[in-house]
């Protein structure tokens, strides 16, 4: 019931976001065709404006845009002629999503063991070294790591391809460059979660009953300690999707991140608004999924 209501609340939220984005983009003077090389005659200009409905009042444009959006039509791209925004999304989204999913797996694969290990070895040198590593990694953004990885592993040793998105080998460096930064955060969250759970009464009780340390940690403590990580994974997925802008441009990966940055520089109205709405929808939807898993893991949470 709760989730159905949340789903229904999505609609006004997306409406508000699309309105905000639409108004923001159209607020600026100058259209997408101002940078054309040869100044078109007024007649041609008027016809182009009419073709894309840019001559109508703003509210009318927004209304017709919304009407198309409901039917799943993001409209034509204003910069890439003969391409609709749907085309661009259909080309870029699978690439961006798979990069994001790979990086998400990498983040959890590195962050969770690191957080677990440092929590178990609390106070020893492994804890200090691991915790330092976790903070250090949070301070190394992808756009520093990516060129260093390329210079080392692609140019100098030539283990991996330098750029592009063609084979599984091509995915290795971008995945690391995108995911490593966030694995530090996951490690810290899981570390703190473990420490907190290990102090709780039910752990002491389980230990008093003679439960083995391995079962205690893996079966009982982890299940609760992972909750902060679960609730962080919604924003994490969003950050991975948007963080891939830079990674996509460094590795020349044809995802939607590059399209968005170019679109907003080129004043490609429909492309920018469409992508903002798409990102927001993804983000909100992912948060919903995350909340769903949260309830599955922690039965104490009841959504009224």
């Amino acid at each position: 019931m709760y989730f159905i209501r949340r789903l229904l609340l999505l609609l006004p939220l997306l409406l508000a976001i699309s309105f905000l984005a639409f108004m923001l983009v159209h607020l600026a003077p100058g259209g997408p065709f101002d940078r054309e090389r040869t100044p078109a005659s007024p007649e041609i200009e008027r016809q182009i404006q009419a073709k894309y409905h840019l001559d109508q009042p703003l509210w009318k444009q927004y209304a017709s845009y919304l009407g198309n959006l409901v039917r799943g039509d993001f409209g034509p791209s204003l910069k890439y002629r003969n391409h609709t925004v749907n085309d661009i999304i259909a080309q870029g989204l699978p690439v961006s999503l798979s990069l994001g999913a790979l990086a998400f797996g990498f983040t959890l694969g590195v962050g969770l063991p690191l957080g677990f290990y440092t929590a178990v070895r609390r106070g020893r040198w492994e804890d200090h070294a691991g915790s330092f590593l976790a903070v250090l990694v949070v301070c190394v953004p992808g756009f520093i790591l990516a060129p260093l990885l390329i210079m080392g592993f692609a140019i100098h040793w030539q283990w991996f391809p330098v750029a592009l998105w063609a084979s599984p080998w091509h995915a290795v460096l971008p995945t690391i460059a995108l995911g490593l930064y966030f694995s530090g955060r996951v490690a810290r969250l899981f570390h703190e979660g473990m420490l907190e759970v290990m102090q709780s009464a039910f752990i002491t009780a389980a230990r008093a009953k003679g439960l083995g340390e391995t079962a205690l940690l893996l079966k009982h403590a982890t299940r609760l300690a992972i909750l902060p990580v679960v609730s962080y994974s919604g924003p994490l997925l969003a950050d991975l999707l948007t963080g891939s802008f830079v990674i996509e441009s460094i590795f020349q990966i044809p995802g939607i991140g590059t399209a968005l940055v170019n679109g907003s520089l080129n004043r490609d109205y429909t492309l920018v608004v469409g992508l903002v709405v798409l990102y927001a929808a993804l983000l909100v939807f992912l948060n919903l999924v995350v909340d769903f898993f949260y309830v599955l893991l922690d039965r104490r949470v009841k959504h009224e």
Binding site: L13, A16, I17, L20, A21, L24, V25, L27, A28, P29, G30, R122, G123, D127, H128, S131, V135, L136, V138, C139, V140, P141, F143, I144, A146, P147, L148, I150, M151, I155, H156, V162, R188, L195, Q199, A238, L241, T242, G243, F245, V246, S249, I250, L260, V261, S264, L265, R267, V272, L275, V276, Y279, A280, L283, V284, N287
Partner: protein, 335 residues
């Protein structure tokens, strides 16, 4: 993290130096903070960095007036002077090497630090002012006002923040760049920086507002606030004299952790070409320039490594200092 701060009860009572005077909680917190070696080293590092960032331009200015040798020194390390010494690797003359136009990289990094640090501090300042006011008013007013204000925050939250900043910056630029260019070229140069600050400030206050609202909601029911109401104080008095001062502890900790986040945002945007415009540089744009020079034939590693090193160590120090503040002030987390 927390394990580095072990509350020493003897020290807490102020008995280590033999005297039995009681210390105020803030004194105790500062004492805990300086005991945290990591945080203390970080603060010293940041101070030295800030000092050299301020001192370096002054030193260059002074050198120009100090005879021909000084003038030569100043022109060699002028961050904007184009010379023949392209891509000189790090060495005695140029500690961090030179870039594609033969400019001294260390000098450019120190000048770029002005932008990066300024953006971090001012951006966090903007998030502080908006976030505290928004959260405090929403929590304090309650009811429909609260609902409306927090729904707005929710909407902003669901928009991927970096995308919002990108759209906002490009829009602001389109609106103002023509007009500002007509006023003066200097204004145009700094306009970009201003837009950057506005854009970053516009997204970084959201979490702050949520935190402050939560604090205010719990403070509102406390006896001393009720007492103030009972004594006939107006809402402005209660809000600014009793509620906001009590929120500030949490706020300061969060601001300390916002500064590195904003610096990171700035370098991200500058990297994408949406930040400061050349010849003005920030650490992010320096790294971007270094990435542009990347090619399979020759590796100019220093162009990325040194700006990156400055960025990473600064972020690290800011994070350690912020964690230190949190551990020192938030008694619950020092167990």
């Amino acid at each position: 993290m927390n394990s580095t701060v072990t509350p020493n009860l003897e020290a807490e009572r102020g008995t280590t130096d033999g005297s039995r005077r009681l210390m105020r909680p803030s004194q105790l917190a500062w004492r805990r903070f300086w005991r945290n070696r990591r945080a203390a080293i970080s603060v010293w590092f940041l101070l030295i960095l800030a000092l050299s960032v301020v001192a370096w331009p002054v030193a260059l200015k002074c050198a120009t007036t100090a005879g021909p040798k000084g003038a030569e020194f100043a022109s060699r390390y002028d961050p904007d002077r184009v010379s023949e010494d392209q891509f000189v690797p790090p060495g005695a003359a140029h500690w961090c090497g030179t870039d594609v136009h033969g400019r001294d990289l260390l000098s450019r990094i120190l000048f770029g630090a002005q932008v990066s640090l300024l953006v971090g501090v001012v951006g966090a300042g903007i998030s502080l002012v908006i976030g505290v006011l928004w959260g405090a008013v929403a929590g304090f007013a309650g009811g429909r006002t609260d609902g409306f204000m927090m729904r707005f925050v929710d909407v902003m939250y669901s928009m991927p923040s970096i995308i919002f900043v990108i759209v906002l910056i490009t829009t602001l630029e389109q609106i103002f760049s023509n007009r500002l260019g007509a006023v003066s070229p200097v204004a145009e140069k700094f306009a970009r920086l201003l837009f950057l600050l506005l854009g970053l400030g516009a997204v970084s206050w959201l979490t702050m507002a949520r935190i402050v609202r939560g604090q205010v909601l719990s403070l509102k029911t406390r006896p001393f606030v009720e007492a103030s109401w009972a004594l006939g104080a107006g809402p402005a008095h209660v809000l600014f004299k009793h509620i906001i001062p009590n929120v500030l502890g949490v706020v300061i900790i969060y601001v300390a952790l916002t500064v590195p986040a904003v610096i990171l945002y700035e370098s991200f945007l500058s990297y994408l070409g949406l930040g400061v415009q050349p010849p003005m540089a920030s650490w992010g744009s320096l790294i971007a320039e270094g990435t542009d020079q990347m090619n399979p034939i020759r590796i100019y590693w220093w162009l990325i490594a040194f700006p990156g090193l400055f960025l990473i160590t600064t972020l690290l120090a800011l994070n350690f200092a912020g964690d230190g503040l949190r551990d020192a002030w938030d008694v619950r987390s020092t167990n």
